[in-house]
């Protein structure tokens, strides 16, 4: 099973960390990473199992990203990430993002994130070739890649 894992230690109690992660997602979510046509205005995350997870554009339109699988405050959150490798919502695709909040004393929390089932993207060559040529999707990836390369060179 293919997954990515990362973690961060935050100087805050677990309940606050959980609250900022879930209720205030738009305060930390990288603005450049969204899929709707217009600029992203906010993020909707309904705090209950099966709750929606979506972005709201400046035009007021909601673009789905996935939904809530497990909502267990303040320790555990599992989200279904349903964006495919073409950056399009696919209701049949479910990759899981699990976030665990582990207290380390009263005011420090380890936040560990795993994004798994990545093999389900099954990036087919044809699909990738198509999306590389389009805006967003892999074109965005390539641009990021190139920008990063330019930063390193500078």
């Amino acid at each position: 099973m293919s997954s990515v894992r990362t973690e961060v230690i935050v100087e805050a109690p677990a309940d606050r960390a959980f609250r900022v992660f879930t209720e205030k997602m738009q305060t930390w979510w990288p603005q450049s990473h969204h899929v709707g046509k217009s600029e992203m205005k906010s993020i909707v995350l309904e705090l209950q199992p099966k709750g929606r997870w979506a972005e709201v554009g400046a035009d007021g339109k909601e673009t789905p990203w996935g939904h809530v699988l497990v909502f267990d405050p303040p320790r555990r959150l599992v989200l279904a990430w349903q964006l495919d490798s073409d950056w399009a919502f696919d209701e049949k695709l479910i990759t899981e993002v699990e976030v665990r909040f582990t207290p380390m004393g009263d005011s420090r929390t380890r936040v560990a994130l795993e994004h798994r089932n990545l093999e389900r993207f099954g990036a087919k060559e044809e699909q990738v070739r198509k999306s590389v040529g389009s805006d967003g999707g892999w074109a965005l990836l390539l641009r990021n890649f190139a920008e990063k390369a330019a930063e390193r060179a500078a």
Binding site: A17, L118, F121, R129, V132, L141, A146, A149, A150, A153
Partner: protein, 101 residues
């Protein structure tokens, strides 16, 4: 085996980025790549070698032509992308939590 930093280094050069972006649209021969670029064909071959060594493009011979294309296995690495994405997101999350009272 080329790693991520080889790829970054290979794409640090603007001409190589231009070549790479051309190939992202479709597979091309050396002559086709050189057309429209203000560099000589030997220079293009040299750039292609760097991209190939970095695992970003692959080459196959079609008759007398060498045709280059993006190495989709390397680029289609959603994993690398998400790895960088979540690291960036969690760093921003840490800042947001620690500002919150």
């Amino acid at each position: 085996m080329a790693n991520q930093s080889d790829r970054f280094a290979a794409l640090a050069d603007p001409t190589r980025r231009e070549i790479f972006e051309k190939l992202a649209r479709k597979p091309l021969s050396v002559a086709e790549i050189a057309g429209g670029l203000s560099v000589t064909r030997p220079a293009v071959s040299q750039h292609l070698k760097v991209l190939k060594d970095a695992g970003l493009v692959t080459m196959k011979s079609e008759g007398t032509r060498n045709v280059y294309q993006i190495d989709f296995k390397a680029i289609a690495s959603m994993r690398d992308y998400l790895d960088r994405f979540w690291n960036k997101a969690l760093a921003a999350f840490k800042d947001a939590v620690e500002k919150e009272k």
